[in-house]
Amino acid sequence: MGMIHEIDYGTKPSAATKLVTLTIDGQHVSVPEGTSVMRAATEIGTQIPKLCATDMLDSFGSCRLCLVEIEGRAGTPASCTTPVAEGMVVHTQNAKLAKLRRGVMELYISDHPLDCLTCSANGDCELQDMAGAVGLREVRYGYDGSNHLDAAKDVSNPYFQFDPAKCIVCSRCVRACEEVQGTFALTIEGSGFGSKVSPGMSEQFFDSECVSCGACVQACPTATLMEKSVIEMGQPEHSAVTTCAYCGVGCSFKAEMRGEDVVRLVPYKDGKANHGHSCVKGRFAYGYAQHKDRITKPMIRARITDPWTEVSWEEAIAHTAAEFKRIQREHGKDAIGGITSSRCTNEETYLVQKLIRAGFGNNNVDTCARVCHSPTGYGLGKTFGTSAGTQDFDSVDEADVILVIGANPTDGHPVFGSRMKKRLREGAKLIVVDPRRIDLVRTPHVAASHHLALRPGTNVAIVNALAHVIVTEGLANEAFIRERCDWAEYAEWAEFIRKPEHSPEAVAMLTGVPAAEIRGAARLYAAGPNSAIYYGLGVTEHSQGSSTVIAIANLAMATGNIGRRGVGVNPLRGQNNVQGSCDMGSFPHEFPGYRHVSNDAVRAIYERDWGVSLSPEPGLRIPNMLDAAMDGSFRGLYVQGEDIAQSDPDTRHIVGGLTAMECVVVQDLFLNETANYAHVFLPGSSFLEKDGTFTNAERRIQRVRKVMSPKNGYADWEITQMLARAMGMKMDYAHPSEIMDEIARTTPSFAGVSFEKLEHEGSVQWPCNEAAPDGTPIMHIDHFVRGRGRFMIADYVATDEKTGPRFPLLLTTGRILSQYNVGAQTRRTENEKWHPEDVLEIHPHDAETRGIKDGEWVKLASRSGETTLRAKVTDRMALGVVYTTFHHPVTQANVITTDYSDWATNCPEYKVTAVQVSHSNGPTEWQRDYQAHSKTARRIDAVAAE
């Protein structure tokens, strides 16, 4: 296996359809109108020297190396900024051009260290390549004059260094920060010879606004911005394309390797989800896979108070199967179940649900989507007919109005957030519905037209008020509704939504949002012409999560914003494979492809394929499993790659349920919080150690490729297979591709998917079958999956979680850029430097009335429990609302959250908890006890471990 080298065409492709024919060095070439001469030359294999040009960025024309001669035109224009023209005759090489280029290179090199042999970019340096390409043989100017060779390095960023001595001021880093990432953290300071790249106001990288996305490092043509891993390890020698294991954007990366060691992950330009961009997590935070905390040997124990004992894989699997069989013998087949992982592959998830349905003989399978996007599945399934977003990410390029509800894309889905910001800089309008002033509300060259800073828990009221304005002001798209939706259902819904209680004026007091803002936002959304909705967990994690999704779907249908590019309803999925885990039948009521277990015809497909009889009854959801455990009827749980003790709400209830069980099996990379209550630990494998597929938020199925041997000995699918065999199932897959073949033959929406197809196409978006052999980027184009779109009445019902004298504030939770969910991965990387602890964001007024100052320890108390953390006083919070993250187990933010949940799906109401904030002297009793238990629960028997 060699290195994957992507061609750099120097400038971006033209979207024009009209072709222009020209001649370059005697060769005829036809390219789309608007293509640069440089790109046209590259298309026919002619490399024009370049330094400031790269096809990730707009043409700049500063380095003067790509000069060409064009017959009939004066001078030597830069080929990167010169568009092709019909009949143009271009010469890229002649004596005059060679002399000019050598002269330019001579100037560059006269202020550049000549340490090529010891330079970290040796072998991967464009400056070095260009010196060779132009035939530079001498530098006449010497090094005695003014230069930058002694400029100090900036090593403040944990992942890359900045060595200004090697900078040629091509501005590629500055432009990448602006054009690709949209942060504008870098600038060229000074002028002329004094020009230099500067993060922020002459700050160190770490102290600046830099978000460490890596775009500047990737763009740098020299060793000026260089990954520390390359400096330490040297240049990689082979690479493979794989998919990021963090958020639901699903960025493609080249894993660049030396042997079985990762040198770096570089975003892949051909990646259809990220188009060569990345964030600090995917690009740099992969070190957790090799972290010392990782457990690589199976362990068992009789009681959760015992230390762990390392055992062989054979013993661990046999013990687990024996325990599960014993429990079923003593308490019935429904006394056990399992949880699939949204961090694992489709194939692994499929196998876990198969083990439970066919091996355990029940449908007690659930997944972490229960606590994030299960309302999306319900709401979009009911209204549109399928449980997924309607668009591909590229669709945002054609949106005129972007409505972001309960999502924070620049932190939670940063690569798509950058894409969205780019479209907003191009002129699209933005509406943000969020209690916090998220970064997107006002960020360089982006400002929301409307920020509806609603009171947490009033989403349905706000979305219905938007719909009220649209219907009562005659802004609905009746032609679309008549053609595509059920008109009678629309009429009934419109009658409901017209009622005065849904007017902006009526809901203003309820939501805290001025009526004029709601009316303005509604008119803007209705005006479009292309209006797109993007939403996140701020929509779903409520007692009315499903109702809000339904209300959003109503809004899109009422305005005809479905079924073409630039519009749609787009759930931003949290985890890398949360879409896939849902697709693969992880919910207790559905087989893969969202087909109910009571459907005889569907059950027959699996009964034929698997050779067993299957239950037609829905199984238990995660919270129901824990309830049943407390009640004594559920006693065994197989948890693959999920940490319910930290991520799920009302920790005391979770811990109570886990403690009541007789056999909890955790399969994970680390001894996570759930493992504190486990009896068997099966070490898992990282995404770098296995083959498979992930499906991202745009339904895109992409390959995950094994680049190193599993540290624990087995990929996760192999572990599930061993357990299935020990439970008495026949299961003998030799490779995950065989599992995907089974998925394809049993799931209509995946019928055309295979590893072979993915190898050929790179990725494909489901549905992919006979009707859509190339996949489906945009859904519901001619008709909804369910036939006609269904308007459903979604009335606002206030949450039962109420503020009052004891708990006067509302807590809402979320995640930040540098950390990821429960932090199991990112806390074990240098990302910890940006966010070493969870903090409580509180409005200055709320802080002042409590005498709380920025940075002080505070007690956060709710009806469920209390914890302590530091306060961060910030006016980005609305008055009466506080916010924290849940990345650190020591904070135990979910001790605070309640067990209220969505009416339809039991998705927890993380986003609304009544709390009080007061001064604190230190950790609560619960935190102290929990830490003590964690320490005890993680002991590994020293003798047995020898």
Binding site: F496, S547, S598, A628, M630, W903
Partner: protein, 75 residues
């Protein structure tokens, strides 16, 4: 009422409230369909036993919905 029964009653009432604006029989049918599609049988069995014991706190829509299909419950 045990804690589990308390939770089941709460959840059933939540579902009923989601359909409360529908005509009564339709709300009962929708609630019944929802419960049948998503509730595991021990949950249904438990709440039906609770109804038999008086069913205090259970709203009318979910109560009627549960009784509607109790005859068809899996044994």
């Amino acid at each position: 009422m045990s804690k589990m029964e308390d939770r089941l009653v709460y959840m059933a009432n939540q579902i009923g409230k989601a359909f409360i604006l529908r005509p009564h029989q339709e709300a009962v049918d929708e609630t019944a369909t929802h419960l049948k599609a998503f509730w595991e049988k021990r949950m249904l069995t438990r709440i039906l036993a609770y109804i038999d014991a008086g069913g205090a706190g259970l709203d009318e829509i979910p109560r009627q919905a549960l009784l509607k299909f109790r005859e068809n419950l899996p044994k």
